[in-house]
């Protein structure tokens, strides 16, 4: 437990962060764009075709067989991906097998976890899993928040995960890639079959850098599986199972436009803001997430674009039926898709050449020669909390519990304009505060906070302030918003924490931007 009280230093946003995490040395956050490691990328071992079947058939009898052949043993790092979202059947099975084999102290590096992974809490308790590096949603986050995980959690963005694997911050021993469709050589995609989920971008880094790569599918087709979103040339073993995912749970529950009048108002104000700021213009680009409010923003964008005869060059997704209909209507030229949220998205990706699959490498990786996130004109994101310095939190709630992952949120902050439409308070919990519980994004990258009671523009964005000064929209200062929230809800007390750390939050460059402490029980 000693490591959970490791040396803390103050980083560039004034947060106390550890210099060592789970035995690995760490760099505290130094400011946006400041940390540039002078090193070469991590390399995977050179393989030889001589060691692989001449007929290309790498299929083994079972997942257990594959894990044993891959050399599963104590202390290894195992990675999985969240393409099947809450319908994932694979991660739980992997650790059932590990338990059966008596393997201990594994490090699990999922690209995200979901409530369906609550099953794994028993393995965190009995020592099969030492700790999780990846988003912890719901039950796992709650478990970690109470200090019950043996190691420290490490939360990374989608781009940060690619960066960490590419840079060698995280060495993956075995990755298990669940795919809707694959051949026995290991070529795989997420497009066809009962567990179709769109693309497999989150597994890209793992397929390139992990020592052993296992592809698991419930839809094994004869070579070639085309298109090969994952190249079989990276793959060691392939496995056929009855079912890799539960189709109705793969389609995310949040991909419906909100019906809440308050959230629709937020979305409408956000779209109006973008219009008046001159962001919605011919050839522009946008990204909005999969939440109900974000979807509604997209819908209002579409209305405005139709009325004013404006076309967008591209939309980054999170694709879904709404974005697909904009593509088909000709309102956007391209969808650059990072994660497909429903079957309309999957079908469009399979059929429409302008619906392009991307990966965390092309879209988000900060240690590359640029990425797409920075090319987007406007991105609409959410947050659990924002503070008067425009810092935002997406991982913890105001009571201190770690309940969400970062997703692509941090990476998207590099868009030209970042807008967070959020309610001023949720059931008496103020969302605009003096200081966020956890800093996930520094205020300098967050431009606009849209609440139902007013819109605050970051003082750094003098151009936006100037453009909106005669607007009919309710422009206020962030301080005014905070005071309004407190007037309605009362001034909230701060959650109390123990000194013990439970997790750290990585910035997109691998430095630590904040840490999460154990809540007082």
């Amino acid at each position: 437990m000693g490591q959970k009280y490791a040396n803390l230093v103050k980083n560039a946003v004034g947060r106390m962060v550890p210099t060592e995490v789970n035995g690995q040395k760490q760099v505290p956050f130094q400011g946006v764009g400041k940390y540039k490691p002078d090193a070469r990328k991590y390399s995977s071992k050179i393989s030889s075709c001589a060691d692989y079947p001449e007929d290309g058939n790498k299929q083994v009898a079972s997942l257990k067989d594959a894990l044993v052949k891959a050399g599963l043993k104590d202390g290894m790092t195992i990675s999985t991906h969240h393409h099947f979202r809450n319908g994932d059947l694979l991660a739980n099975k992997i650790f059932d097998i590990a338990k059966e084999l008596g393997v201990k102290d594994l490090r699990w590096v999922p690209s995200a976890s979901f409530p369906c992974h609550e099953h794994l809490i028993q393995y965190l308790e009995d020592g099969t899993i030492h700790h999780i590096e990846g988003s912890m949603n719901g039950p796992l986050g709650r478990f970690a928040s109470h200090g019950k995980m043996k190691g420290l959690g490490v939360l990374r963005s989608h781009g940060g995960r690619y960066q960490a694997i590419q840079d060698g911050d995280v060495h993956v021993d075995i990755t298990i890639i669940g795919a809707a469709c694959a051949d026995s050589f290991g070529n795989a995609n997420g497009l066809y079959g009962p567990s179709a989920s769109g693309l497999l971008g989150f597994a890209l880094a793992d397929s390139e850098y992990a020592d052993k790569v296992i592809v698991v599918t419930d839809n094994m087709v004869p070579f070639p599986c085309s298109p090969w979103q994952i190249q079989g040339n990276h793959v060691d073993y392939t496995v056929q199972v009855d079912q890799v995912g539960i189709p109705e749970k793969i389609v995310s529950g949040t991909t419906q436009i909100t019906k809440s009048p308050d959230r629709l108002l937020l979305a409408e104000m956000t779209a109006q803001f973008c219009l008046e700021a001159g962001i919605i213009r011919d050839g522009f680009s946008f990204q909005s997430g999969a939440g109900g409010t974000s979807l509604a923003v997209g819908d209002y964008f579409a209305k405005i674009m139709r009325e004013k005869n404006i076309k967008a060059r591209f939309a980054r997704g999170g694709s879904n039926k709404y974005l697909v209909s904009m593509l088909e209507e000709g309102l956007v030229d391209y969808i650059l898709d990072g994660q497909t949220f429903d079957l309309d998205g999957v079908k469009s990706m399979a059929d429409n050449p302008n619906h392009v699959w991307t990966s965390p490498f092309t879209s988000y990786n900060y240690h590359g020669k640029g990425n797409f996130a920075g090319l987007v004109d406007v991105v609409i994101l959410g947050a659990t909390e924002v503070d008067v310095n425009f810092n935002a939190n997406v991982v913890t709630h105001s009571d201190g519990l770690l309940l969400h992952g970062i997703g692509g949120w941090q990476n998207c902050l590099f868009s030209k304009t970042v807008i967070l439409p959020i309610p001023l308070f949720r059931d008496r919990i103020p969302v605009v505060l003096d200081e966020v519980t956890t800093i996930c994004g520094p205020g300098e990258l967050i431009d606009v906070i849209v609440t139902e009671r007013g819109i605050a523009i970051n003082p750094k964005r003098k151009d936006l302030i100037e453009k909106l000064k005669d607007s009919g929209l309710p422009i206020k200062t962030i301080q005014e918003l905070k005071e309004e929230a407190e007037k309605i809800c009362g001034k909230p007390a701060k959650p109390e924490f123990d000194d013990e750390l439970v997790a750290v939050i990585k910035w997109v460059d691998g430095t630590i931007i904040d840490s999460v402490k154990k809540v007082k029980s």
Binding site: L264, L265, S398, D427, G490, A493, E496
Partner: protein
């Protein structure tokens, strides 16, 4: 009072921004407060202090109070505890939090009443954000949306809402209970800057007179000078026949509304989308209102999912002479405003007329003409109304004439 345990408020999975209070008076043992709150980390301590303060205010020294809180703001928690206390103790004392200064605005007889949003009087979660949707008025409802055994609780919630919730400039209306039960509601409303009372099932001037007497008593007691406006709701066959009598019963009656669910029930017929069955009642009501120089306000449109049908409905309503409509969902507000708003060609025509009128006045001409056509004074008046409406709805700027003259050149 023999009863020693009282409850107030709402509980259940779907309940938000509310709380459920159980109060048990004891003979000894002091005050015990049990709290189960969704926001305990942030407000547990503050809630505890509030509970203690209220019990002290009512002189309660030995009791067990349990608070099951789903994120209720203080003005709701206090209403709930007061409701529980008043079931156990005979008292007129009111536990009041501050009246917020933002709620001191007044309303005018002539202001627009296109939309008024109904808010069930015992459902706090819908009240906090009602004003942000920018309705012309909000109606805190004590009548049909409140269960019979919750009327007293709702009076306290509505009173506290009038004092402490900012409705951002919307006209502050309350629908009281039917006559004569509604008279009991007044003392919770009149002292707290209620702008207008909606009087359900109104069937004659007598009811209005009796209501006003009671209002005057309370106004005197609290030294209140501003008027309390009235919007009687006509929802019976007799009410329709008495529409003009009601409309002209008092200078504080500024509008009549029609309630079609009850009216069609009274006729023994069914309400249809085409609304032929209520055509007579609606036109009769409009005529009575115009004769009495007050506003005619239409019934609510209950299909909250169908905005196109709502839009059509408002057009018909506007065509009959109605000047407003009730809303039961915030998304209806914008559609109603847009549909009552003057259309583009109407505005353009009005600009020409008003401009000609200003021209004529400036030149000292007694007759206003547009081209070769003479314009009668009522036409000018209607055009002015249209222009003012368009300005207030943000459809044209206040300096429209400057732009108009430039475009004429």
């Amino acid at each position: 009072m023999s009863n020693k345990i009282a409850t107030a408020g709402n509980t259940g999975k779907k309940v938000r921004s509310d709380c459920f209070v159980t109060l048990e008076l004891k003979n000894s043992g002091g005050i015990k407060i049990e709290q189960k709150s969704k926001v305990e980390v942030l407000y547990g301590k503050a809630n505890n202090e509030l509970c203690n303060d209220i019990l002290k205010f009512y002189g309660i020294e030995n009791a067990k109070l349990s608070l099951e809180d789903k994120g209720a703001v203080p003005l709701i928690i206090t209403a709930r505890i007061e409701a529980a206390v008043k079931q156990l103790i005979d008292t007129d004392k009111e536990y009041l939090l501050d009246f917020i200064e933002e709620n001191n605005y007044t309303s005018e007889k002539e202001q627009f009443r296109f939309s008024r949003l109904y808010l069930p009087g015992n459902t706090p979660s819908m009240m906090l954000n009602a004003g942000i949707h920018d309705p012309n008025g909000i109606i805190l409802d004590l009548e049909d949306s409140v269960a019979f055994d919750r009327k007293k609780e709702a009076q306290l919630v509505v009173r506290n809402a009038l004092r402490g919730i900012n409705f951002y400039g919307a006209e502050r209306m309350v629908r009281i209970n039917q006559f004569p039960k509604g008279l009991e509601d007044l003392k919770y409303l009149v002292p707290h800057n209620v702008h207008m009372l909606l009087v359900p099932k109104c069937e004659g001037a007598e009811q209005i007179k009796e209501l006003e007497e009671k209002i005057e008593d309370i106004k005197k007691q609290y030294k209140i000078e501003r008027p309390v406006l009235l919007m009687p709701i006509i929802e019976s066959a007799l009410g329709v026949e008495k529409a003009f009598e009601v409309a002209s019963a008092s200078e504080n009656v500024v509008a009549l509304a029609i309630g079609l669910e009850d009216y069609t029930a009274d006729l023994g017929t069914r309400r249809t989308n085409e609304a032929v069955e209520s055509f007579y009642a609606r036109t009769r009501l409009v005529n009575a209102c115009k004769a009495a120089r007050i506003q005619a306000i239409d019934s609510v449109f209950s299909d909250v999912g169908d905005m196109d049908a709502l839009r059509e409905n408002v057009k018909v309503s506007k065509g009959l002479g109605f000047e407003g409509m009730g809303c039961i969902h915030p998304r209806q507000i914008k559609v109603i405003h847009e549909s009552f708003a003057p259309e583009a060609d109407e505005i353009e025509k009005a600009k020409k007329v008003v401009n000609a009128f200003i021209d004529a006045t400036e030149k000292g001409l007694g007759v206003v003409s547009l081209g070769t056509k003479m314009i009668d004074p009522p036409v000018v008046k209607r055009a002015e109304t249209t222009i003012n409406l368009a300005i207030s709805l943000g459809l044209i700027s206040e300096n429209w004439r400057e732009e108009f003259l430039n475009s004429e050149i």
